[in-house]
């Protein structure tokens, strides 16, 4: 009686949870072009897409991906053998136990009428498989300490839950003959943890047993010409397909920047955790927005996360869209003025002109905005006596101190390819290279730091090579940019 009640409650929670999670794929949107995509448009689009794929040659692709990537998990095997052994042990052992043990009354007895329920010699074997898999999981996380693999409560819960299920199962089999009293107690532990697992499944990372295959299959048959409504649905579904395995962060080109900057949003796997939470309510603090903007912009778009993701998630598409959504929320992102914008520039055509320009202007303004002298060009700057403490107070390095040797021959500005690009360079660049160096000579740091020239600089080092006085022009520009960003960060906060 109690068993039946608990079973049906667990099944109900599982069912409702499943519906709730799946409805989220249609209710939520992420990234740009989210408008005009109502639930009523997205559900039929998915159904239509499914029908078209099933009645086409793409069905063969689906079958191939299902066998290779879903059943045999080749994508994991290629990247990490130990991890594949771990996952296969848990996966195969669990599936075996599910069909021959948990659901034995439903499946096995209907197939083999002489099946003897009380004896399953493979039960222990399968249990050992899952246990050894779990042992490898613990080993990888806590002893081997796989780089960039971070353990969250969610990851621990699943390991503990599975371990309790299997261990209580073993205890159950052993006490079967020995003691009825103990048997009953352990039976409750075993059944309750199993049913807890069932009820918790849609809300835990175990949900990936449905979503990861879905992501692998969807990405195998979708491309950039797919219906935008379906792309949106897939993008949201993929957030559920992520198991926080850390493979993307392991391969991320800029992951090491996390060690130096300490912003966890630099790691793609941590951004996924953030997005799962963010997508439902889309609220965040100013500080949170600044962190996510920095994290997501600090990306060279090298595609390694996308190529390596074992769940086949199209992270390339996700980052591009989330990046636009985040920088469009109005927080100035100084990184936008660096070569990190290369990829965005290549994809300018995919964005509205305003959508493209506004965040860039905002970043420019945030960097130049508080350098007041730059905004009052007509104002006469009084000649001050040389400030001997300037170099130290400005925070410039010894090398940067070479600005003092400048005698304004203008060689740097003459050879600069950026200056040469404009009819009237000052209108676009504020100050020319020699003027920036001179400003430092006058102790006018704000003037030097605020000019657009710094950010338009291609860092070709022509100026520095050509300086007869050995002024390290390009290196000084780098230092000024670093200072300007620090200043801007301070004022934004």
């Amino acid at each position: 009686m109690v068993y039946n009640v608990v079973l049906y409650v667990a099944l109900a929670v599982f069912g409702v949870g499943l519906m709730y999670k799946i409805s989220g794929w249609f209710r939520f949107s992420i990234g740009i072009a989210a408008q005009n995509m109502t639930i009523s448009a997205r559900i039929p689009a998915v159904l239509k897409g499914l029908l078209v794929v099933i009645f086409s040659q793409k069905l063969l692709t689906l079958i191939r991906v299902f066998v290779m990537d879903v059943l045999f998990q080749i994508r994991i095997l290629e990247k990490d053998k130990l991890r594949w052994v771990m996952h296969m042990l848990i996966f195969a052992g669990f599936i075996f136990l599910l069909f021959t043990h948990a659901l034995d009354k439903i499946i096995i007895t209907s197939l083999f009428d002489k099946y003897y329920l009380k004896l399953n010699p493979y039960l222990f074997f399968a249990g050992f498989m899952v246990l050894s898999g779990l042992a490898i999981a613990v080993y990888r996380r806590f002893i081997l300490k796989v780089p960039r693999l971070k353990t969250k409560a969610m990851d621990l819960y699943v390991i503990i839950l599975l371990a309790v299920i299997i261990l209580s199962g073993f205890a159950l089999e052993f006490t079967k003959l020995a003691s009825f009293n103990h048997y009953q107690k352990i039976w409750y532990v075993h059944i309750l943890t199993c049913l807890t697992g069932l009820a918790y499944l849609p809300f835990s990372k175990m949900f990936h047993m449905f979503t990861t295959p879905a992501s692998l299959l969807a990405n195998a048959v979708m491309n950039q010409n797919s219906n935008p409504a379906n792309v949106m649905t897939r993008r949201v579904m993929e957030l559920d397909a992520c198991t926080h395995c850390g493979t993307c962060s392991r391969h991320c080109s800029v992951a090491i920047a996390y060690d130096s900057i300490g912003n966890k949003h630099i790691l793609p796997s941590e951004r996924m955790v953030f997005l799962k939470d963010y997508i439902a309510h889309k609220r965040m603090t100013a500080r949170g927005l600044a962190a996510i903007c920095q994290g997501i912009y600090l990306c060279t778009n090298c595609d390694r996360c996308t190529v390596n993701c074992p769940a086949g998630i199209n992270l390339r598409d996700l980052w591009f869209n989330v990046r636009e959504e985040m920088i469009g929320r109005g927080h100035a992102v100084p990184l936008m003025l660096t070569p990190f914008s290369f990829y965005r520039g290549l994809h300018q055509q995919e964005l509205d002109p305003d959508q493209y320009d506004n965040p860039l202007n905002k970043a420019q303004k945030a960097l130049a905005g508080h350098f007041e002298r730059l905004n009052k060009i007509e104002e006469v700057i009084p000649l001050t006596s040389a400030n001997r403490e300037f170099k130290k107070s400005a925070g410039l390095s010894l090398r940067a101190g070479t600005y003092a040797y400048c005698f304004t021959c203008e060689n740097c500005s003459t050879v600069c390819p950026v200056v040469g690009n404009y009819e009237n360079p000052q209108q676009h660049l504020d100050l020319l290279p020699h003027q920036i160096i001179r400003s430092l000579g006058f102790g006018l740091l704000d003037l030097a730091m605020g000019s657009r020239m710094l950010w338009y600089c291609l860092t070709c080092y022509q100026c520095q090579e050509h300086c007869p006085q050995g002024v390290k022009v390009t290196d000084i520009f780098y230092e000024l940019k670093n200072l300007a960003v620090k200043e801007a960060d301070r004022s934004i906060k």
Binding site: P147, C252, S253, V254, A255, I256, A257, D259, S260, I261, L298, T300, N301, C302, D303, P334, L335, L337, T338, P339, F340, F342, L346, W455, T459, Y461, Y478, E479, K481, N482, V485
Partner: protein, 116 residues
């Protein structure tokens, strides 16, 4: 001659023809190159906003090729400049060298060479 080939982030995904032709030319010149999938960003793009992080990123690659016992060859001018600059700074700035190596040791790496 044998080098560790540093491709950077963009060449393998967006400029493959450059990589292919470079490999063909190197082959004709009998220059052997070794790929290293552990090479990552050279640190160039972040140098504008954070030089320290940039040097750390570059030094990580330098340490990797040093571990292989090979000199590095970069196809991209910006990668080259960034790596060379980092090697130079590491050579002339002992405190930076120490700081960077402390970070690198988390991955079991260390950059020793002082030839930059």
């Amino acid at each position: 001659m044998k080098f560790a080939l540093f491709l950077g982030c963009n060449i393998p995904v967006r400029v493959q023809h450059y990589e292919l032709s470079a490999r063909a030319v190197l082959d004709k010149l009998s220059i052997e190159v070794v790929d290293n999938s552990e090479f990552k960003c050279c640190g160039y793009p972040i140098r504008n906003t954070d030089q320290k992080t940039s040097v750390l990123m570059a030094a990580r690659n330098l340490a990797l090729s040093e571990k292989q016992g090979l000199d590095m060859m970069a196809l991209c001018m910006c990668c080259f400049g960034s790596l060379k600059k980092a090697a130079h700074l590491m050579k002339h700035n002992p405190s930076m060298q120490e700081e960077v190596n402390a970070q690198l040791s988390k991955e079991g790496l260390r950059y020793r060479e002082i030839s930059g």
